[in-house]
């Protein structure tokens, strides 16, 4: 019996450590994305600020609150086994709400001519660098949304009693961290007049 529970402990530790190792590779993947942002920011500070002023702060901030709350919900599901289902369903629902808001935001972005390409409407003479901001914006948010979809899949999987809920929660909160880092770069830096 003791041996069995010892093995179970090792198994839990191994899957936890395995997820952290995977997240370590994700840090490097997103690190490259953020590095590109800093290079653009260094080269074209004015066009990047112009881009930030054209993103929708309300949608972005609502989505940040949704994700922070979904991380709380999934963490409550992890620490309180009797809240597991509620915590995970709550996190999934808030995550889905995030994607719906993002969908509305994309629709508005398209309408305002923010999608890079022939229909892009620039507001300054720096057309190229203004494009670069929105190429970054759409690439980063699309990759993030893809991670959210995978996260929703994992939550469904965990709710069916498969896999390790703790590991799923780790992934979910990591995707939250990525958004926490993206949010100021896409919506805040350069918004004010100064």
């Amino acid at each position: 019996m003791a041996e069995q529970s010892l093995e179970k402990g090792y198994e839990a530790d191994t899957s936890l450590i395995g997820m952290w190792l995977f997240l370590c590779t994700e840090v490097l993947f997103f690190g490259a994305l953020f590095f590109a942002y800093f290079a653009y920011q260094h080269l074209y500070p004015l066009a990047m600020a112009e881009g930030v002023r054209r993103t929708d702060l309300t949608f972005g901030t609502i989505n940040t609150v949704l994700l922070l709350t979904s991380s709380l919900s999934i963490s409550l599901g992890v620490v309180q086994p009797r809240w597991r289902t509620r915590g995970f369903v709550g996190a999934g629902a808030l995550g889905a709400a995030f994607l719906v808001v993002k969908g509305f935001e994309y629709a508005k972005d398209f309408q305002e001519g923010l999608f890079p390409g022939p229909g892009f409407i620039a507001v300054s003479r720096e057309t190229g660098p203004e494009h670069i901001f929105f190429i970054f914006y759409f690439t980063a948010t699309a990759i993030h949304a893809l991670h959210m979809l995978i996260g929703l899949g994992l939550i469904t999987y965990a709710l069916k009693g498969k896999g390790s809920p703790v590991v799923v929660a780790l992934y979910w909160s990591f995707v939250d961290i990525v958004w926490i880092c993206l949010y100021p770069l896409l919506y805040l830096v350069g918004r004010g007049a100064g």
Partner: protein, 102 residues
């Protein structure tokens, strides 16, 4: 533990408020650093409390620190190029992409 989670969430929302407020202050170029500072604080709260890094096995923590270290090495080495280009310009030395080609 449950109470800690709610406190962490409250702290995150407060920091988000600070971040939005900072966006409208005339901080100029320093705004990037202020905004990133708050973002790092928020990410740390999520990693330490929500992701329970504070109670994680040592190997998991080593992976977390290793990822952070590697990404910082990439930023330092890649960023040093952009950071030092102005020095060349100040001394009248053309940067690599402005050198005449044979």
């Amino acid at each position: 533990m449950v109470r800690t989670l709610f406190f962490a969430w409250g702290g995150l929302l407060a920091l988000l408020g600070v971040q939005v407020g900072l966006a409208y202050l005339p901080l100029g170029a320093a705004h990037l650093y202020f905004a990133l500072g708050v973002a790092v604080a928020m990410a740390s709260i999520v990693a330490w409390i929500f992701m329970e890094l504070i109670r994680a096995p040592h190997l998991a923590r080593i992976f977390a620190y290793a990822g952070l270290f590697w990404v910082m090495a990439m930023f330092a080495l890649g960023g040093s190029d952009y950071a030092t280009r102005a020095w060349n310009r100040a001394m009248g030395i053309p940067s690599a992409n402005q050198l005449p080609r044979d």
